[in-house]
Amino acid sequence: MSESPLTGTRRWAASPRGGGLLALAAVIALLPLVLGNNYFYEIAILVALNAIVCVGLNLLIGYAGQISLGHAGFFALGGYGSAILSGSYGWPSWLSMPASCAAVGVLAFVVGRPTLRLKGHYLAMATLGLGVIVSIVLSTEDRITGGPDGMSVPPLALFGWALHGEHTWYWIAGAALLLAVWLALNLIESPVGRALRALHGSEIAAETVGIASARYKLKVFVISAVFAAVAGAMTAHYAGFITPVKASFMHSVELVIMVVFGGMASVFGAVVGAAVLTTLPQLLTVLKDYEMMVFGAVLIATMVFFPQGIVPTMARWLARARR
């Protein structure tokens, strides 16, 4: 006795997962109505690309309970990889991007195995060390990477057509974000997602129901690295330029702040975190000098008062208010 597809679809739309996706799609579709000039489109694109990284990083930090202070390294490697393949070797970008991201995935796999055996502070420092080493290498090997000044990146091209311009990229980034969110939501509601959350809940109990913790930590690490690499590659082709700053410790920290602020175990929280913390500094350029200080204070306040992050805390307030 299966229900009609229409009822099923309606129920999906009413669920938090389906409803959220629809809402996000609606926002992406309708936002151009309020966006004024290209500058705002640019911010929107940056938000979307940051959000992709954050959704992946959130899987690692919020759901699986691990930490990475070096994810900017994966972001930058994705960008540089595609830049070098398409720029220096003439590969078409529809090939260089997936190739670069796959390579980053392999690197994350190789590097992740010894790293994820560590826990807590040790894991944080190891990922930090990896990220910084990547940024130093990118800065030093100037013959390949253009050194500290970075290198230029050819535009994304499909079937010979170069895709550039804020309006085109808005739709590309928006679609990519929707896809990333959809994939992440599916993952969480699957046996793999439950295994990850079990690791966070009680690693030892997870093992006793047969979850090989090392293997799952590695899986989520690689997934989050690939998300970051995709975002990095897209950013590189969009901006037409990439510098080693993209791999810096500061950038890694910014990404963690976005995830933590928006919400730990919440995909939409990650999107909100990216949106708020990318937009505010851009809009409040008058407060540019205070940016670092404000970020620091926000981080402290969030962890002390809302350790779960903004979105889950607000969701809980709403649930309580409804009762």
């Binding site: 502070h121 930090l128 702040i257 200080m293 962890m303």
Partner: protein
């Protein structure tokens, strides 16, 4: 060739002494709270920058230096009260993120209070280099080594001879037992932050004439100090000193003989090597997880 080698050793040990001071700060806070203080490097920066301001305001060096250290200690104590104590019971990831936030906050404040330029301090006893066995050594290097040595001696006196120092050691071995005999672990944590800040600031002041200082000079120093602490064994005081000196030597010799471009990477490679192969460090205990 000989004198070159000695040159690298001299400059390496100088940097190493600073790393040792920073590493001691990490170990002290780790012992009191099992937390890594990502803001440790900022204390170094505050020390250096405060000294620059005080000297610029007309104070003689012998007054500016202790005052700068005190300023950093005050900041460290304030930080502990505002950011660390409220989150004492939080899990590791939360604490890490809080100290990262603290480091950003301090750096942001420094950027506002001072500026983004690089500053330097006048050398304590002049710039004229000394010649020692064919190597050229700056007199400031001797100040660095001497100052760091004095600090380490004072610290071991404090932990070995004073009651509160021993109480702090007791807390690091077994916080619960320490509490049961009446030691206030909150006070221990408070004092730990003050001590760590003071040590870091001292390092910042000592090195400012050589390596200069700016609002963001704390990041790298903090990270390298952490590498040194891990190398020697997190929580071990002699390990912190040993790790600092070894790291400095590795950097000096590596930059001189292998590649100066990758000098900064040496510390991070060391962090990774220690974490992967020897998480206890050289002098730290080998822990096994009790279930």
């Amino acid at each position: 060739m000989d004198s070159q080698w000695l040159q690298y050793v001299a400059s390496g040990l100088t940097a190493g002494a600073i790393y040792a001071l920073v590493a001691l700060g990490f170990s002290i806070i780790y012992n009191a709270s099992r937390a890594i203080n990502f803001a440790q490097g900022e204390f170094v920066m505050i020390g250096g920058m405060s000294a620059v301001t005080l000297v610029g305001a007309g104070l003689p060096l012998w007054a500016a230096v202790p005052l700068a250290v005190l300023a950093a200690v005050a900041v460290g104590l304030l930080l502990e009260k505002i950011a660390i104590e409220p989150a004492r019971k939080a899990d590791t990831v939360t604490l890490i993120i809080i100290t990262i936030g603290a480091s950003l906050l301090l750096r942001g404040l420094a950027q506002l209070l001072w500026d983004k330029r690089v500053h330097s301090l006048p050398a304590f006893s002049g710039d004229k280099p000394l010649h020692f066995m064919g190597a050229t050594v700056l007199p400031q290097s001797l100040w660095v080594l001497g100052g760091a040595g004095l600090a380490v001696a004072a610290l071991s006196w404090f932990f070995g001879r004073t009651l509160f120092g021993k109480a702090m050691l007791a807390t690091s071995y077994n916080p619960l037992a320490a509490q049961l005999v009446g030691i206030s672990t909150r006070k221990v944590l408070f004092v730990s932050f003050g001590l760590a800040a003071g040590l870091g600031a001292l390092g910042g002041v000592l090195i400012a004439p050589i390596a200069f200082t700016s609002y963001d000079s704390g990041i790298m120093l903090g990270l390298k100090g952490f590498a040194a602490a891990m190398l020697g064994g997190l929580g071990s005081f002699s390990g912190a000193v040993l790790g600092g000196l070894l790291l400095g030597l590795a950097e000096g010799l590596g930059a001189g003989f292998v590649s100066s471009a990758y000098k900064d990477a040496i510390a991070f490679v060391i962090i990774l090597a220690v974490l992967f192969f020897m998480p206890g460090g050289l002098l730290g205990a080998r822990r096994s997880d009790r279930v």
